[in-house]
């Protein structure tokens, strides 16, 4: 793990609000290039809010998000995306009014090195046959594939992935796990929100435990196995 080098992203004392209600109470963590970091914790701990705050999709946020020597805290969502961060939301956000092909090619190419349309269809063969279907006609697994596929097009190599395994059949989860593994091998940096500990352990380098909008623990993937009981207490399972 390249922990001796300077992190690609440093989140410091990040606080966020949705209207009146405070969702994050000072998150501090960092992510290194090529690393896969998970945010784990109970429902409502602030994992999704953390990703949304990084992306600027919250009401108000304070603190600091440094990404490649650039401060993002005051940037607009589209500027954050153009800085090289891609976001795959929990609800997958497939556009019902657009076809699968339109959904797939919607994100613009922001920097070189993204996957071409042909490469995407090769990587996600299920989507090929359904190119002309409406976005709402896809199964949950297909929607998840599409949500991941389309952001790989932009050329961004820093990806925020929110619960890709949620609500999917084990065989699909396995397939998505294999895709994430492949992205890691290709050098992508990934922040993964995950409830499914088994899934998280298969792909992660490091785990950041979130509770009440704060980081309460950080463990390497090896440490996770030896501290499983402690982690399960955090997760309430």
């Amino acid at each position: 793990m390249p922990s001796d080098r300077k992190p690609i992203m440093q989140v410091e004392n990040l606080e966020a609000w949705y209207g009146e209600s405070k969702a994050l109470h000072g998150m501090t963590f960092d992510v290194h290039e090529g690393e896969l970091v998970t945010l784990i914790g109970r429902n409502g701990a602030g994992k999704t809010s953390t990703l949304r705050s990084i992306m600027g999709i919250v009401g108000t946020r304070t603190g600091s998000i440094r990404f490649r020597d650039q401060e993002l805290i005051r940037k607009r969502t589209y500027q954050i995306a153009r800085a090289g961060i891609a976001y795959c939301p929990e609800e997958r956000a497939i556009f019902a009014g657009l076809t699968v092909a339109e959904n797939m090619t919607l994100p613009p190419i922001l920097s070189p090195g993204g996957l071409t349309d042909a490469q995407l269809l090769e990587a996600f063969p299920n989507l090929k046959a359904r190119r002309k279907s409406g976005g709402s006609k896809l199964s949950g697994g297909e929607q998840q594939m599409l949500a991941i596929a389309r952001i790989l097009r932009t050329g961004s190599r820093f990806i925020l992935l929110d619960e890709p395994s949620e609500g999917l059949a084990p065989v699909i989860v396995k397939e998505i796990g294999a895709q994430i593994q492949k992205l890691k091998e290709q050098g992508y940096t990934i922040v993964l929100v995950e409830q499914n500990l088994q899934f998280a352990r298969l792909v992660a380098d490091r785990h950041v435990v979130v509770e009440n909008g704060e980081v309460v623990d950080t463990l390497s993937n090896e440490d996770l196995s030896s501290n499983l009981d402690r982690v399960k207490t955090y997760l309430g399972v």
Binding site: A81, F95, A96, P108
Partner: protein, 294 residues
């Protein structure tokens, strides 16, 4: 053809219906685009249409720029005015209830119409037809200018429809209509896109005004008179459905024309009778399918 109805009268009224329908279609389409993306009921649409006619009149009378030049310049001028309105009036209240934008655009109507009335009076100004004359079709006389308006409006309406339903730009608009924050997370400047869409819809209203100038009087109230019908068209067609707005616009124009032939007393009422039935039978609009902005 029908007892007591001459073909001349019948086709004459169908033509007038199509002319009126051209304006109904263009204006309700603009309203539908704006509502679809911004959830703003643009009450100022009629005033912006009126501004298009006045800009055309001013271009001709102050700068000597004829109709064909105004056809391009006036929509740009009115669109730029729309951009200004979006930035100054609509953006500050974009997160409030829809009622606020409706009231704000209504206030804009009062101000715009008042200023124009102050400057030019309320009687209306003449604007000569750029295409005088016409052709005798045997059963009726077809003025060239009216033929031009019908054909041009069809091109504009269906061109806009194709732009929104079948291009990449249109895909961005439809997507931003569903989930703006996700589209923005792809690196697209959604606020700017919304401003430009409003300007485009307003520019369409301005274009309608230029087209209308040689047909109707260029007067401060020309837009308000039309808007009542336009809102009925939008309600019948389905709020935010572009194709619905276009088709309903032409349909209502023709139905109105035909009513003038067969039951003249009902011509002003028929649109609202249809609206009532549409609201009862298909409250989401006749064309509220799954297509496009909704």
């Amino acid at each position: 053809m029908f007892d007591g109805v001459s073909t001349q009268l019948l086709f004459g009224q169908v033509l007038i219906g199509l002319i009126n329908g051209s304006f109904y279609a263009m204006l309700s389409m603009g309203l539908a685009i704006i509502f679809g993306l911004m959830s703003v009921v643009n009450f100022a649409h009629g005033a912006q249409y009126m501004l298009g006619a006045f800009v055309a009149w001013a271009l001709l009378n102050y700068l000597g720029i004829p109709y064909w030049g105004a056809l391009f310049i006036a929509p740009v001028v009115v669109g730029a005015f729309g951009l200004f309105m979006e930035r100054t009036i609509l953006r500050p209240i974009q997160n409030l209830d829809h009622l606020y934008s409706l009231l704000a655009t209504f206030a804009a109507v009062l101000i715009i119409e008042g200023l124009v009335r102050q400057q030019y009076g309320s009687t209306g100004l003449p604007y000569n037809s750029p295409l005088p004359g016409g052709v005798n079709l045997g059963f009726m006389f077809m003025p060239w200018y009216r033929l031009w308006v019908v054909l041009f409006s069809i091109v504009i309406c269906f061109g806009t429809y194709i732009l929104i339903e079948h291009t990449k730009l249109g895909a961005y608009l439809r997507a931003a209509n569903e989930k703006p924050e996700i589209v923005e997370s792809f690196g697209i400047n959604v606020p700017r896109m919304i401003s430009l869409t409003y300007a485009f819809g307003v520019g369409l209203a301005g274009l309608g005004g230029v087209l209308a100038a040689p047909i109707y009087q260029v007067s401060p109230s020309m837009g308000s008179n039309l808007m009542i019908v336009i809102f009925a068209v939008v309600v019948i067609g389905g709020m935010g459905s572009i194709l619905g707005a276009i088709l309903t616009g032409y349909l209502i124009g023709v139905v109105e024309g035909l009513t003038k032939v067969f039951y003249p007393e009902g011509a002003n009422l028929v649109i609202f009778v249809i609206m009532i039935f549409a609201l009862i039978l298909r409250p989401n609009g006749l064309f509220s399918g799954k297509e496009g902005l909704k």
